[in-house]
């Protein structure tokens, strides 16, 4: 479904992604984790060309991302859902309009049908009553659920999540993870950049550990958590599990 082939990304001279090869099968849920600055967000932003590739290629359903331009690129993007850390809802539009905008303008769905789909999806994420609210009137968790509904409205083949719970207060993380759990079990292909190791352990088919732009671990959750091979992965897990006791490592 997604195939990274010797992917590199430079920001000027800074080499943030250094030759990544990775295959993700249809219906797979892959969690990407790693220390901050490791390039994990950049990696998924390359998939829908929010960042242009510097070298290599990514194949999405056989289509080369590197050589997609214009209409082909827009089509590709409309099939890849992207959920942002900061939700990125459109503040001047209501919740319903946030969901229907791309439906109408990209897919050409007529307004009545777009509204029906928006209502369905709001129901699915538990926010049917917020249809006419504006983003600023919602909590962070609610905004992220609307953002997920907005993404799902396009019926994407792939969902990319860029640290979807990192900007949330702790008590709101659960409601977003619940929606993501439902998605993970629905059979859609998901790539999730997250520090939520609970989610990773329970729902991921595979965990990819990245540090300094290189894949160091690519395992089933059981293997990753119980017997990580690489010392950097072991240190990362120690820090996540007991952040107070790793200062001297």
């Amino acid at each position: 479904m997604i195939e990274f082939r010797d992917v590199h990304k430079f920001y000027d001279k800074l080499h943030v992604i250094r030759g990544i090869d990775l295959s993700i099968a249809r219906g797979e849920v892959v969690v990407i984790c790693g220390p901050s600055g490791s390039g994990k967000s950049t990696l998924i932003r390359l998939v829908n060309q929010l960042e242009p590739l510097s070298r290599g290629d990514i194949l999405v359903d056989g289509q080369s991302v590197a050589s997609s331009r214009g209409r082909a690129l827009r089509r590709l993007r409309s099939q890849i859902g992207f959920v942002f850390q900061q939700f990125n809802l459109y503040p001047h539009l209501t919740v319903e309009q946030n969901i229907t905008l791309a439906l109408r303008k990209v897919l050409g769905v007529v307004p009545e049908d777009a509204t029906v789909r928006a209502v369905e999806l709001l129901d699915r994420v538990g926010l049917a009553d917020k249809r006419f609210a504006y983003p600023a009137q919602l909590s962070g968790g609610q905004q992220q659920r609307v953002a997920i509904a907005r993404t799902l409205a396009m019926r994407p083949k792939i969902l990319l999540f860029d640290e979807p719970t990192s900007a949330l207060d702790p008590e709101m993380i659960g409601e977003v993870l619940a929606v993501m759990r439902e998605l993970a079990t629905s059979g859609i292909t998901m790539v999730v950049v997250t520090h939520e190791m609970g989610f990773a352990r329970e729902l991921a088919d595979r965990i990819v550990f990245i540090d300094q732009g290189v894949i160091l671990e690519n395992d089933k959750p059981v293997d990753f958590f119980l017997s990580p091979q690489h010392p950097r992965a072991r240190q990362f897990l120690r820090q996540l599990l007991s952040p107070l006791h790793t200062a001297n490592d």
Binding site: R74, R77, Q79, F84, Y90, H92, A102, M154
Partner: protein, 226 residues
């Protein structure tokens, strides 16, 4: 020395709408018509140019140069040029008021372009990213996501520009368009004795006009506390 405002009251209809009964628009009404037309024209032109500048780096330098050119010359020159140029190009059939409207619109569009472009650039990049990530084309992101937000943020700046526009219509005086300042000076020439009263009243009219505009803008923007 007491002030005697009866001269203003006696000529009030002429100051407010000129020779409207003879089919010739004038006075305060013409000032408003000129300001509104120039405002609409410059808004349309300014926004269009800002969109071009935003989408195409190459055009930006050229547009900035053009805006710089307009900024660097006094408005009164532009009015003079159009006053002589427009009839020369299109024959004599264009009313003076129209050539002043075009001059004002042209002049203001540069300022509007700069404001709108700044407004677009000040929006977080994440809004643009959310748009293109959903498959929208760049011009759709601009029309449906960025411009509506930028324009809303720019209302106060537009109010300021429009107030300047209202006051700048008085420059039409030099090409003898019968707007408020011109008719006031006509009344003054006719009566000779009451310049203070007349021009104080005119100043008050401009002030009230701009004040009403500010209040209206606040009423429109106020409730949306978002």
């Amino acid at each position: 020395m007491g002030l005697d405002f009866t001269v203003v009251l006696r000529n009030l209809d002429y100051l407010l709408w000129g020779r409207l009964t003879d089919g010739e628009l004038g006075g305060l009404l013409l000032t408003v018509v000129m300001a509104v037309s120039a405002g609409i024209l410059s808004l349309a032109l300014g926004i269009a140019l800002a969109m071009v500048a935003w989408r195409c780096q190459a055009s930006r330098k050229l547009l900035f140069l053009w805006a710089e050119l307009i900024r660097g010359i006094p408005l009164i020159f532009v009015i003079f040029w159009l006053y002589f140029l427009v009839p020369a190009l299109f024959g004599g059939g264009i009313p003076n008021a129209l050539s002043v409207i075009l001059a004002l619109a042209w002049f203001s569009s540069a300022a509007i372009m700069h404001s709108v472009l700044a407004g677009l650039q000040s929006l977080p990049r994440s809004q643009y990213e959310a748009g293109i990530a959903s498959g929208l084309a760049e011009h759709q992101v601009l029309c449906w996501i960025l411009l509506p937000q930028a324009l809303r943020n720019l209302i106060p700046s537009f109010v300021g520009l429009f107030a300047s526009l209202i006051k700048d219509t008085s420059l039409a005086f030099i090409v003898n368009v019968p707007e408020l300042t011109t008719v006031a000076s006509q009344v003054n020439n006719r009566t000779q004795l009451f310049p203070t009263e007349i021009f104080l009243s005119i100043a008050a009219m401009y002030f009230v006009l701009c004040g009403v505009l500010s209040l209206a803008a606040r009423a429109v923007c106020g409730p949306s506390s978002r």
